[in-house]
């Protein structure tokens, strides 16, 4: 069953095609990877899916009434708020009832390892910001999670913890789209994915379909073109 389907997506910036006729679909309950080097068009694709930028062509179809959570590549939160206040703010925007929000927030903070919610966001490290971004994405119990470079800027331990969290989110039955270029992480967590180069789809990857590792396939495809 398809959770989301993109067909012939196109985006042109200053006469340059940054996403070109991109088509793929994401099944319910799977972790799907968008792979590619810098400038491949991964983040642009995510932004088109989320409606943050207009498309120059193509369609995005998703299951009706699904709740979507999004963690941006470079999360920015109002620096004068603490983690609890950030979650209260975004939960309020989602119209989550106060009682429900009160129950959700401590669980999300615990899951993100941000129990010390009194520290202001301005004093957060990059890793803490990433974890807070994931926590706000989980507000309202979304069925589809879109994570743009969730391990960017994290140290080795932070990366491992982030991948554990994503794995457990997948085991809960959520559908996850991850944009990343850390191939080992992707191979461990994701079921399928696409490799992109300069806005074009180069290869459709599926776990266990090939003997070669994802890294080998990636180098072959990206380096070979």
């Amino acid at each position: 069953m398809e959770m989301l389907s993109c067909s012939h997506l196109k985006k042109i910036y200053q006469k340059q095609c940054v996403v070109n006729e991109l088509s793929f679909s994401v099944r319910k309950g799977e972790a799907f990877a968008l792979l590619g080097s810098n400038g491949a068009g991964k983040t642009t694709t995510i932004k088109m899916i989320l409606g943050l930028i207009p498309k120059d062509g193509g369609t995005v179809e998703r299951q009706a009434d699904i709740r979507i959570g999004y963690s941006p590549e470079t999360p920015y939160f109002h620096p004068f708020l603490n983690a609890r206040e950030v979650l209260e703010f975004y939960g309020g925007l989602q119209n989550i009832p106060k009682k429900e929000l009160k129950e959700q927030i401590p669980m999300l903070l615990e899951r993100a390892g941000l129990e010390d919610s009194k520290t202001k966001v301005k004093n957060y490290s990059k890793g803490m910001l990433q974890r807070l971004a994931l926590a706000q994405a989980l507000l309202g119990d979304p069925q589809l999670l879109i994570l743009d470079e969730p391990s960017a800027g994290l140290d080795a331990l932070g990366r491992v913890e982030m991948m554990h969290t994503i794995q457990s989110l997948k085991e809960e039955g959520r559908t996850i789209i991850i944009n990343s270029h850390i191939l080992n992480d992707i191979e461990r967590v994701c079921d399928r994915g696409i490799i992109m180069k300069k806005g074009n789809l180069l290869y459709e990857w599926e776990k266990g379909k090939e003997v070669r590792s994802l890294e080998e396939i990636f180098v072959d495809r990206i380096g070979g073109n």
């Binding site: 932004k47 989320l50 409606g51 943050l52 930028i53 207009p54 979507i68 999004y70 941006p72 470079t74 920015y76 939160f77 109002h78 004068f80 708020l81 703010f89 975004y90 309020g92 925007l93 989602q94 706000q136």
Partner: protein, 251 residues
């Protein structure tokens, strides 16, 4: 109202506004205490009734400047920091988002204006004009219309113009609007193309002075002209419509 409350919280933490307010209050006190002399056509103004509209105009220009400064970056900052992404994906409409940010800018601008205004009231009471206090609050509502319009106009323009261009345009809007009578006098002096230009500017920019002088009239017991107040409210409405119409293509 969460977006507005959050934006107001950020405003309160900005220290620069306090500095502007303190400077403004010093200027107002100087104007009213005689440390600086106000004069019209070389004749010094000492009568309270004459002084009031002039001082109100000075406050209005200061308040308008603060309104431009506070409103100019509020919405663009949200987009530059990409805080907008997490708002847009939650299905918040642009109108709701922008209007709440604009309201926050307007409230903080009016807060600064109120502080300046209270300074005038305090000084008036010190001069024995106690009766002014009763009219003080309704007069402030009249007085705040022009500052609110400047703030809303700035918020709307900041959606479609880059920072510098928006700043210049909004400052011009505020200065021309609050100094309409001066330009009307200039229009009577000059001739030819210059006169056409000045008249064009006077036509394009609403007479904000017209509405704020009604506040001074109310305070000093003169007749209040309702059509000027309605004109001010119409300007506010047009600015709100601009805020609704102007949209961002990208978050």
């Amino acid at each position: 109202m969460g977006i507005m409350k959050n934006a107001l919280r950020e405003r309160i933490r900005r220290k620069d506004i306090y500095v502007v307010v303190v400077i403004g209050m010093i200027i107002v006190m100087m104007c009213m205490s005689g440390a600086a002399t106000l004069s019209i056509n070389g004749v010094s103004v000492t009568e309270f009734e004459m002084m009031m509209p002039l001082v109100m105009n000075v406050i209005s220009v200061l308040g308008g400047g603060i309104a431009v400064a506070l409103s100019l970056r509020t919405i663009p900052n949200e987009y530059e920091r990409r805080t907008s992404h997490l708002v847009w994906i939650r299905g918040i409409s642009q109108w709701k988002y922008h209007s709440q940010l604009a309201l926050a800018s307007m409230i903080s601008s009016l807060g600064a204006l109120f502080i300046l205004y209270v300074g005038v009231l305090v000084f008036a009471v010190m001069r024995g004009e106690i009766q002014i206090l009763l009219k003080g609050i309704p007069a402030f509502f009249l007085f705040s219309i022009s500052t609110a319009a400047v703030s809303l106009f700035t918020s709307a323009v900041s959606l479609v113009l880059p920072g510098m261009a928006a700043g210049v345009l909004c400052t011009a809007f505020m200065l021309i609007g609050t100094m309409h009578p001066i330009l009307e006098t200039v229009s009577g002096i000059v001739s030819g193309v210059a006169r056409g230009l000045v008249n064009g500017v006077l036509f394009a920019v609403p007479n904000l002075y017209g509405v704020e002088v009604q506040a001074a009239n109310l305070l000093s017991g003169k007749t209040v002209q309702v059509h000027n107040i309605l004109g001010g409210l119409l300007v506010l409405y047009v600015c709100a419509v601009m805020l609704y119409v102007f949209r961002r293509k990208e978050a």
